[in-house]
Amino acid sequence: MLATTTVLASTQGWWTHPWLIYLIRRSAYFIASLVLLVTLSFLLVQLIPGDPARVSAGEMASPEVVEARRVELGLDRPLIIQYLSFWRGLFTADLGVSYNSRLPVIDVILARAPATLELALAAVALVLVIAVPLGLAFGALTRGERRRGVEAGFTAVSAILAVIPEFLAGVLLVYAFAVSSQLLPVAGRSGLSSYILPVIALSLGPSAALTRIVRAETLTVLEQGYIRTARSKRMGPIRLYGRHVLPNLLTSTFTIGGLLLGGMIAGTVLVENVFAWPGLGTTIVDSIQDKDYPLVQAIIIFYGAVVLLINLVVDVLLILLDPRTALDKS
């Protein structure tokens, strides 16, 4: 069946190509998820028990202040009008004004997002740089049931590291490198050295988890017939692992890596609060506690959209890496 796909595509035109069909379906799914995300974020304020205007203005506020807040939130208008203007706001980048700072929400997001994204991207890069070679190496070392001791040690250490949540890793790192030895800055974002601890805190758990997966996948790949074929050609280990094993690991590595990356976006919220990192994670926690709803809604949409976008990019990357996965899916 697979051998005929090229033929099919050439006779029926490019628009029936399975890749394209998959891409369209996947994009439709992305847009549907995005609509759902925006709708739920909109409903967030509506669902607050009691009177959201009262909650937002505070228990002690006078009725006039509460009414003013209600108008500001737009809660005095019919629900459907509120919903439509919420969408219009998104398309015109007019997301309202933060109560706290009185700054436009869009400005707060644009000012804070880079710090968060830098943190997440640096951590992902570190996870991949650590997990893929390390998983491959441990897979190679423990293949065919050799080095049982190394295997047991690896399993135990990686299990413990995978359990340590990012905020705890952050606290432990602060203690070790900023309090005890004062080698690195304890908090804030100033200069390259201030990135080291937050990035490590964020990537420690995911690195351990991904290394385990890469090792397990390496062991599976090493049992395959094509590896025996490759070995029958008498090549060095670099060529064997780099050319014949590695490409077959990428599909599962990227699938899991995408999931981990989504989790790491969430993890930035915690890590930022450990290191007083001036990103969206510290902002969202402050704004939840201050009942600064326009800002909260906008940040939740931002986080959600980033996660959905990551999933989309990973899925498209997977088709490029391995056309068969896409064909199986559609």
Partner: protein, 592 residues
Amino acid sequence: MMKTRERFLTVLGSPLGILAAIACAALLFLALLAPAIWGEAAADIDTMQISKGPSPEHVFGTDGSGRDILLRTLVATRLSVVMALMATGIGVVGGVLIGLLPLIVGGRFGRWIVVGINIGVAFPGLLLAIAFSVILGQSGAAATTAIALAMVPNYGRFTHNLAASVWGRDFIAAAEVLGVPTWKTAFRHVLPNVRDPLLVNAAITAGGALVSFAGLSFLGLGIQVPEYDWGRMLNEGLTRIFVTPAAALVPGVAIILAGLTFVLLGEVLGKALTPTTRRDVKSRFRRHMPSGEASGASGPIDTDAVLSVRNLRVAAPGDKGWGSLVHGVSFDVARGEIVGIVGESGSGKSLTLTSVAGLLDSPLSVAADSAQFDGQPLTLKTGTHASSLNHHLGQGLAMIFQDPMSSLNPALSVGSQVAEPGVLHLGMSRSVARSAAIERLESVRISDAERRYGQYPHEYSGGMRQRAMIATGLMGKPALILADEPTTALDVTVQAEILSLLRRINREDGTAIVLVSHDIAVVTSLCSRVLVMYGGRIVENIGSEELKAGHAKHPYTKALLATVPTMQTDRDRPMASIPEGADFSDTSRTPG
């Protein structure tokens, strides 16, 4: 297979099980009793001992209000663990319900629920929990609910996947025929069948909930003052980490230990509830009685032969020491000769071939008195041959395997795999290797080789893949092709094509071939000489013509030959077969 109860006891007796039991008991004890025992002492404010380091009264020192850090950490166990368990309980029940719902309601609506679950799964749990805490406010109860709600999509998808796999089975259809309502089927028939993995997953989920709860409290979105859990303590401790590090570190360690306890619990439950699937090396191979003397050819190695092997042994590790799989096989292959090795599966014929090629890997162990290939001595041992022989073997020795579906790398184009020996061993540049590979592909009758070069294995048919494998072997003008059941996985017509291709290569290039097969008809049609293997040794070494003429000496060979139908076979009688469990081993020492 062991019963669940027995497996439970076995697992509990293992070091991991004991550790898990102790950890769970300690956590349970602290969660139940710590507040009653130390609750008051932990709240005791000692104004003389504010932010002090470790001392006899305060093992880990005191926090910013002069309270004992250790006691507060112990007392905080209850809130931290109970909230996590409550969240898990709600989340698991919700997840199971929402996971079963698509199956119960079925149809279009059911599919929409699945889509909803999948969209929910896309968002990380912590983000969902933070979003829910916007609605629910900031308190312990709100954080618990938020974490429980955030858990629902993930657990729902897990339940749905498990339940959907059970849903297709016969007894579900039977229940439907009997008129059992769908919801009843789901709860009475499906749920018990997926209970075990759900339980294991619940234990791991509880660990995640504990960490998430601590996370929310750490952010100030969970437990509020004056109550405290580990996350809250960490929050307060972090601001004073320069003064009293223990105020942050002790609750931090508590979170890790509690998290590990749930991981251990999940591990133990998993081991106890799922039947053992540990792959056993020795069960993969049939073991034979240890041997005395070598079988097959005798005397010193034949230096004129392209391949000569003396006393080759293969063993596998087992519970009771090493078990012998191939014991003392010796044989020669003359230049340009086609030799067949036949025998039933497990007779050691493939092991013999793979160990000669140096492809037998740990945990199997290989040894031989002496061996020689194409004028070069081979040290037969576990793992591959010495790398100094790489070029010699890479040019001169080609291998073809049984399953052409798996013997080509799916991630690389077929052409680049065919060309690889040229780059590796013949000093060809990439482009020279490419045109050489295209030439070889043409010589094995792959049409349109230029285009086919760039295609991937999944675009090739089974017969074409096997041809591509042969083309790969032909890159270096091999002196010997080792073919391990090269036609077994192929259609009969394709089989004949591959065999005639091998015959042509032998005739035109004078390449020697060793053909391993369980099919004596295939072997006699191609080979001039046949080695019959039984029980890990060569029991007969006989010319093809003699074999066909019925001059076989060994009873196993005769039995094997009798199974092949000929034009004269009486078609009214059942097909001849070697009786199940028949043992020819007491006669196997007869020299071949």
